[in-house]
C-alpha cells in the first residue's frame, strides 16, 4: 500500500462546512428576507458540486494507481496519554467510492432541492443544514480513525434530526425527529462502548484503522466478538435494522430531498460502511457476522412485508430502504463486503431516484402522498414516469439495470456460503420487492386516475437530476459485472476488501440469477394483475393483514414498554423517592433534633434545686471519668 498526501481531501471536507457556516450566519442575520434566495441556492449548490468534482478526481487517482491511499492530517484533535486522535482524512478504495457516492448523489440532490424547496420560508437555513449534513457525512467516510468517524456519525444524526423536524410547527414532525435521534443514540451507546472497549484492548498501539487492524490479532476472540457486536448496535440504529428501525418510516416527515439524500442514499448506509470499514475485525469473528446477516435478513423481509401494506408513497420507499439495507447487512455479515458495498453503490442511485421521482409527484399534486389518490400520471408526467420505471426495474432486480447485478451478487454469496435459509429469505424478499415496487408504480402512473388532478409543472432543477440518476441506475451495475457474464467484477477487485473467498460455478450463478429473475417477474405480474387496471386499497381479509398494515404495532409496544414506564419512574422519583424518602430521612433528623431540644428544655425548669442536682451529677461524672482514666494507666 502506498500512501500519498494530498490537499484535496481537506478542501472536499471544508467546502460544504464553509457553505453551511456562511449560509447559517446569513440566515441568522437576515432571518426573514426572501431576497437572498437565489444567492443561497447558488452558494448551497456550489460547495457540493465542487466537492464532487474533487471527489471524482480522488476516485480516479485511487483507481488508476496501484493500491494507493490518499491521506491528509489537518490537525491533532485530541492527545491524552496513548489516545492520540488526529483529524486525519484518508481515502483508500472503499473511502474513495463512498466519497464519490456521497458527493455525486449529494450534489444532484442539492440541485433538485433548489427547485423542490423554492418558495419555502427559511430557504437559506435549509441549504445550511443540507451542506452541514454533507460535510458531516464526508467526515464519517473519510475518517482515518473510529473516533473521528464517530464524530461524523453523530453529526449526520444531528443534521438528520434537524431536517426531519424541518416543518417544526407540527409537533408530530418534531416527535419524529426526536425518535430518530433517540433511537440513533441508543445505537451510539453501543458504538461508543465498543470503541471504549476496543481502545482498552488495543489502544496502546495507536487508534487509526490501520493500527487497530495491526493489533486486533492479539486480542482474546471473545472480546473481539463483543466489540464487533457493540459496534453493530450502532449500525442497527443508523441503518434502521431490527430492533432500532422504527424511526425511519417516521423520518419521512422531512422534505423529500432530505429523505432522498439522508434517509435513502447516504446516511442510513453508514452502518454498512462501518461494518465494511471494520472488516478486518469482523472477519475474525464469523459468528458475529452470522448474527449481523440474520438481523439483516429479518429486517429485509419484515420491511418488505410492511411495504406491501403501506399507502403513503414515502413510507413505502422508507420500508423499501430498510429492506435493501437488510440485503447489504446479509452481504457484509457473511463476509461479502464488496457485494454489500456494491449494493450500497447501486442503491444510492436508484433509491435516490425513487425518492426524487416520488417528490416530483408529490409537489406536482400539491403535497398529496397517498398513492391511492393518484393515478394515470404517465400521460401527464412522461419524464418522471420513465425515470421512475428505470428505478423500479433496478430495485426489482431486472437486468440489465443496476440492482440486478448487486442484489444477485449478494444472493449468490449467501447461497455459496451455505446459509441457505438466509438465502431463501433474500429470494422471498426479492419477490416482495418487485411486488410492492410495481404496486406503487402501477397505482401511481398506470392505473386510471382516481381524481381529476392537474399536475403542476415542474422546475428544470427538479427534472434533470432525475435523468442523471436514471442513467446511473441503468448502468451502475456494469461496474461489477460478474464472471458469469464475461466481466471480472471490477468493483470487488478495486475495493480489495477481505471478502470471504467462496466459489460458485458460472453455471450455478447463472441458474440462481434465473431463479431471481423468475421470482421478480412473478412479483411484477401479481402487482400488474392487482393494481394496473383498477387499483383498490385492499381491505384486510385476515387479522395478520391488519397487523401488517399497522406494522405489527411495534410503535405502540415500544411506547408501552419504554416510554411510559420511564415517565412513570420519573414521576415516582420526584414524588416518592425525593420528597418522601430522602427528605423524610432528613426531616427525621431535624425532627429528632427538635424532640431532643424539647427534652432538654424540660430540664431547664428554672428551679435552682434542680440545677444544683445537675451540677452535682456533672461533677460526679467528671470525677469518675478522671479516676477511671488514672486507674487505666
Amino acid at each position: 500500500m502506498t500512501l500519498q498526501t494530498t490537499q484535496l481531501l481537506g478542501w472536499i471536507l471544508l467546502l460544504p462546512f464553509t457553505g453551511a457556516l456562511v449560509l447559517g450566519l446569513l440566515h441568522l442575520t437576515f432571518p426573514r428576507t426572501r431576497r437572498l434566495d437565489t444567492f443561497y441556492a447558488a452558494l448551497g449548490v456550489a460547495g457540493p458540486v465542487v466537492a464532487a468534482a474533487l471527489g471524482l478526481k480522488v476516485l480516479y487517482a485511487v483507481a488508476s494507481g496501484a493500491d494507493v491511499t490518499f491521506r491528509q492530517t489537518l490537525f491533532t484533535w485530541l492527545s491524552v496519554g496513548d489516545l492520540k486522535i488526529g483529524l486525519t482524512l484518508s481515502a483508500d478504495a472503499l473511502g474513495a467510492v463512498m466519497l464519490f457516492i456521497v458527493t455525486f448523489v449529494g450534489s444532484v440532490i442539492h440541485i433538485y432541492a433548489v427547485g423542490y424547496m423554492r418558495g419555502e420560508k427559511s430557504f437559506g437555513k435549509f441549504f445550511a443544514y443540507f451542506n452541514f449534513f454533507l460535510g458531516s457525512m464526508l467526515l464519517l467516510v473519510l475518517a482515518d480513525n473510529p473516533i473521528v468517524m464517530f464524530i461524523g456519525w453523530e453529526l449526520v444524526g444531528l443534521a438528520s434530526y434537524l431536517l426531519i423536524g424541518w416543518y417544526y410547527e407540527d409537533p408530530a414532525n418534531v416527535k419524529a425527529a426526536n425518535k430518530a435521534f433517540i433511537l440513533n443514540r441508543i445505537g451510539d451507546f453501543g458504538f461508543i462502548s465498543g470503541l471504549g472497549l476496543l481502545f482498552a484492548l488495543v489502544g496502546e498501539g495507536g487508534f487509526s484503522f490501520a493500527d487497530i487492524a495491526a493489533h486486533i490479532g492479539s486480542v482474546d476472540p471473545a472480546m473481539t466478538a463483543l466489540v464487533g457486536l457493540l459496534l453493530f448496535v450502532g449500525a442497527m440504529g443508523k441503518s434502521a435494522q431490527i430492533p432500532l428501525y422504527v424511526w425511519l418510516p417516521d423520518a419521512m416527515a422531512g422534505p423529500t430531498p432530505v429523505s432522498a439524500l439522508i434517509h435513502a442514499a447516504t446516511m442510513v448506509t453508514a452502518g454498512v460502511y462501518m461494518v465494511a470499514r471494520f472488516s478486518f475485525l469482523y472477519e475474525s469473528v464469523p459468528d458475529v457476522g452470522l448474527f449481523i446477516a440474520s438481523i439483516g435478513a429479518a429486517s429485509a423481509l419484515l420491511a418488505a412485508l410492511f411495504a406491501c401494506y403501506q399507502s403513503d408513497i414515502k413510507k413505502i420507499l422508507a420500508y423499501s430502504t430498510m429492506s435493501q439495507l437488510g440485503y447489504m447487512f446479509i452481504a457484509v455479515g457473511l463476509g461479502g463486503y464488496s457485494a454489500g458495498i456494491f449494493h450500497l453503490f447501486t442503491h444510492a442511485f436508484f433509491k435516490a431516484l425513487l425518492f426524487m421521482g416520488a417528490g416530483a409527484v408529490i409537489i406536482a399534486l400539491h403535497h398529496e402522498q397517498n398513492i391511492f389518490k393518484m393515478g394515470g400520471l404517465k400521460e401527464k408526467m412522461g419524464l418522471v414516469t420513465a425515470t421512475m420505471l428505470v428505478a423500479t426495474l433496478a430495485i426489482s432486480g431486472i437486468p440489465p439495470f443496476a440492482g440486478f447485478f448487486s442484489k444477485d451478487a449478494i444472493l449468490a454469496h449467501a447461497f455459496a456460503s451455505g446459509h441457505t435459509f438466509i438465502w431463501a429469505v433474500g429470494v422471498a424478499t426479492a419477490y416482495l420487492t418487485a411486488y410492492y415496487m410495481f404496486r406503487l408504480f402501477f397505482v401511481v402512473f398506470v392505473a386510471p386516475p382516481r381524481e381529476k388532478a392537474e399536475p403542476a409543472p415542474l422546475d428544470r432543477t427538479v427534472t434533470w437530476p432525475l435523468v442523471v440518476l436514471a442513467v446511473g441506475s441503468a448502468v451502475a451495475g456494469f461496474f461489477g459485472l460478474p464472471e458469469a457474464y464475461g466481466g471480472q467484477n471490477w468493483f470487488a477487485g478495486f475495493l480489495h476488501l477481505p471478502d470471504r473467498a467462496l466459489h460458485l460455478g458460472s453455471g450455478e450463478e447463472f441458474l440462481l440469477d434465473m431463479l431471481n429473475l423468475l421470482v421478480a417477474s412473478a412479483g411484477i405480474y401479481v402487482a400488474y394483475r392487482l393494481f394496473a387496471r383498477s387499483p383498490r386499497e385492499a381491505h384486510d381479509a385476515a387479522a395478520w393483514q391488519t397487523m401488517l398494515r399497522h406494522t405489527l404495532y411495534v410503535d405502540e409496544i415500544y411506547e408501552a414498554l419504554f416510554v411510559r414506564p420511564l415517565r412513570g419512574l420519573s414521576r415516582l422519583l420526584d414524588r416518592v423517592v425525593d420528597n418522601r424518602i430522602i427528605d423524610g430521612i432528613i426531616g427525621l433528623t431535624v425532627g429528632g433534633y427538635r424532640v431532643a431540644s424539647a427534652g432538654f428544655a424540660l430540664l431547664q425548669n428554672g428551679s435552682v434545686r434542680w440545677y444544683a442536682l445537675y451540677f452535682m451529677a456533672g461533677l460526679c461524672g467528671l470525677s469518675l471519668y478522671i479516676l477511671q482514666n488514672i486507674g487505666g494507666e
Binding site: 432571518p31 484533535w77 461508543i192
Partner: protein, 493 residues
C-alpha cells in the same frame, strides 16, 4: 508575580468595599464590577501564559504566616486543577455582569463581587483554614441572593441549602481541626497547610473517619445521590446569575475538593470509599436524568441535568486514571460553559415570558430564530453533541472507565443516553411546535444578549473542535499527580 493570585482573589472584594464605602450610584457600581471582573480575567490570562504545565506542584505560591499561634497561614497557589476552574470563573463573571447589566438592585451586585472572591479564594487556598473560610464565604452571598432576590418559596429554599451545606461544612471543619491537632502532636507546632498535613499518617480507621468529614461536605456540594434534595429547590428559587454560579462553578468546587483534599490528603485511603462513590455516581447519573424527564420547570430540569453530569465527573475522578481524570477536568470546564449558557437563556426566557415552565412555551424557533438556535445549541451541548466541548469530556471519561473494567465502562457510557432522555422532549415543547399565548410576543435576542451568549457558544465550539489546544495545559500535571498517588502508601493514610 508573587502577588498575582492575591490580586485575582481580592480585587472583586476590594472593589466591593471601596464602592460600598463611597456609596456609589448604580451606573458606577456596575461599571466598577465589570471593571473588576475584566481585570481578574486579564490577570488570569496573564497567569495562564506564565503557567508552566510541565512543572511539578504548585505555582505562583504566596505563603505568609497569618495566625501564628495556630500555624494558620495565608497560603495560595495554583496548579492545573485550580487553573481550569479559575479560568472558567474569570471568563464567566464579565458575561454574568453583562447579563445583569440593567438589573438595578445594588445589593445584588455587591453579593456577586463577594461571591467571586469566595469562589476563587476557595479554589486557590492551600491552607485548610483559609479554604474553609472561603468555602463558607461563598455560601453566604448565595444564601442572601436566594433569600432576598429569589422566586417561589425562596426563604424556605434558602434555608434548606444553607442548613444542608453547613452540615457538611461542620463535618469538614471537625476533620480539619483534628488534622491540625494531630500535626501539633507529631511536630510540636500547629499547621493547617495542605502540604504539611499530607505528610501525616494515621491508622486506617482514623483516616477513614477523617476522610468522611471532607467527603460529606463535598458530597453535599456536588451533590451525590442522596445528598441532593437542596439542589432543585435552590436552583428554581435562585435568581439567574446565582444559578449560573451554583451550577457552573460552585458545584465544581465539590468535585474539586474531592480531588484536591480527598486525594491530596488521604491518597490511598480514598480507595475505601471508591466503590461507594462509583455506585452513587453511576446511580446519580441515571437517577437525575430520569428525574428530569417529567420536570415542567426548566430550572429544575437543568438542575437535575447538572447533577447528572457532576455525578459523571465524580465518577471520572474516583476512577483515577489519566483518561478519566483528563476527561473530568475537561468536563468541569465545558460543563460550566454549557450550563452557564443554558441557565442564562432560561433567565432570558423568564424575562420575556415571566415563566420558566415548559407547558407555557412553544414555537420559539418561529418567532425568535436566533434565540431558538442558541437555546437548542446549548441544550445539545448538554446532551454531549460531538463538535462541542462536552463530548470530549464524556468521551475521555468513558474511555477511562473502560480501562478500569467493562462493567464500569458500560455504566459510564450510559451518559450518552442520560441527557437525551429529557433534552429532546424539552426542545420539542419549547423551541419547536406551535406558538403559544406566552411566546406570541417573544422578542429575539438583543445585541447585548448576543454579546453575553456568543462568547460562551464560541468557546464551546472551540473546545469541541480542537481539544488539543487545551489538554497540554493540564495533562502533564495530572500524570504527575497520578504517579504520586500510585507511590503514596503512607501519607495521611
Amino acid at each position: 508575580m508573587g502577588m498575582l493570585l492575591s490580586y485575582i482573589v481580592f480585587l472583586p472584594m476590594l472593589f466591593a468595599i471601596l464602592m460600598g464605602l463611597f456609596r456609589v450610584k448604580f451606573p458606577i457600581l456596575r461599571a466598577g464590577a465589570m471593571l473588576s471582573a475584566l481585570l481578574v480575567f486579564a490577570l488570569s490570562l496573564y497567569l495562564t501564559l506564565h503557567f508552566d504545565p510541565a512543572a511539578e506542584g504548585m505555582q505562583f505560591v504566596r505563603r505568609l504566616p497569618w495566625i501564628h499561634n495556630y500555624g494558620i497561614s495565608y497560603y495560595l497557589g495554583i496548579d492545573a486543577l485550580s487553573l481550569v476552574i479559575l479560568l472558567m470563573t474569570a471568563f464567566l463573571m464579565p458575561l454574568l455582569y453583562l447579563y445583569m447589566w440593567n438589573y438595578e438592585k445594588q445589593g445584588y451586585w455587591y453579593n456577586m463581587l463577594l461571591l467571586q472572591t469566595g469562589v476563587t479564594g476557595a479554589v486557590l487556598s492551600l491552607d485548610l483554614i483559609l479554604f474553609y473560610l472561603f468555602w463558607e464565604t461563598m455560601l453566604l452571598p448565595i444564601f442572601v441572593m436566594i433569600g432576598r432576590f429569589g422566586h417561589g418559596m425562596n426563604r424556605f429554599n434558602a434555608m434548606k441549602i444553607l442548613l444542608m451545606t453547613v452540615l457538611g461544612s461542620m463535618a469538614m471543619l471537625f476533620s480539619i481541626l483534628y488534622l491540625g491537632y494531630e500535626y501539633y502532636e507529631a511536630h510540636g507546632a500547629w499547621s493547617f497547610a495542605l502540604d504539611h498535613l499530607a505528610t501525616l499518617s494515621f491508622d486506617p480507621k482514623t483516616s477513614i473517619w477523617l476522610a468522611a468529614g471532607f467527603l460529606l461536605a463535598f458530597a453535599i456540594k456536588i451533590p451525590l445521590l442522596g445528598f441532593h434534595t437542596w439542589m432543585a429547590p435552590a436552583y428554581s428559587s435562585a435568581p439567574t446569575p446565582s444559578v449560573v454560579i451554583l451550577s457552573a462553578i460552585m458545584a465544581k468546587l465539590g468535585v474539586y475538593g474531592l480531588w484536591r483534599f480527598g486525594y491530596g490528603l488521604f491518597g490511598p485511603t480514598l480507595s475505601y470509599y471508591e466503590p461507594t462513590i462509583v455506585v452513587l455516581a453511576v446511580a446519580g447519573l441515571l437517577y437525575y436524568a430520569i428525574h428530569a424527564i417529567m420536570e415542567n420547570n426548566l430550572r429544575r430540569m437543568f438542575a437535575f441535568s447538572s447533577g447528572s453530569h457532576l455525578s459523571l465527573i465524580a465518577l471520572g475522578i474516583v476512577l483515577t486514571n489519566l483518561y478519566a481524570w483528563s476527561g473530568s477536568l475537561y468536563f468541569i470546564a465545558t460543563h460550566a460553559l454549557a450550563s452557564a449558557g443554558i441557565f442564562l437563556m432560561i433567565g432570558l426566557l423568564y424575562r420575556r415570558t415571566g415563566s420558566v415552565h415548559i407547558s407555557n412555551l412553544g414555537g420559539i424557533a418561529s418567532v425568535a430564530p436566533r434565540f431558538g438556535f442558541l437555546f437548542a445549541f446549548f441544550a445539545l451541548c448538554i446532551a454531549g453533541l460531538p463538535g462541542t466541548g462536552g463530548f470530549v469530556g464524556e468521551l475521555l471519561i468513558v474511555i477511562g472507565a473502560f480501562h478500569e473494567g467493562i462493567a464500569i465502562g458500560f455504566a459510564a457510557a450510559t451518559t450518552m443516553l442520560a441527557a437525551m432522555l429529557f433534552v429532546f422532549w424539552m426542545l420539542q415543547r419549547t423551541v419547536f411546535g406551535p406558538v403559544t399565548r406566552h411566546t406570541a410576543q417573544f422578542g429575539d435576542l438583543t445585541t447585548l444578549e448576543l454579546l453575553t451568549l456568543t462568547p460562551i457558544a464560541l468557546l464551546l465550539v472551540v473546545t469541541g473542535i480542537a481539544p488539543s489546544l487545551f489538554t497540554p495545559l493540564f495533562e502533564p500535571q495530572l500524570q504527575q499527580m497520578l504517579q504520586t498517588l500510585a507511590q503514596t502508601v503512607g501519607g495521611a493514610s
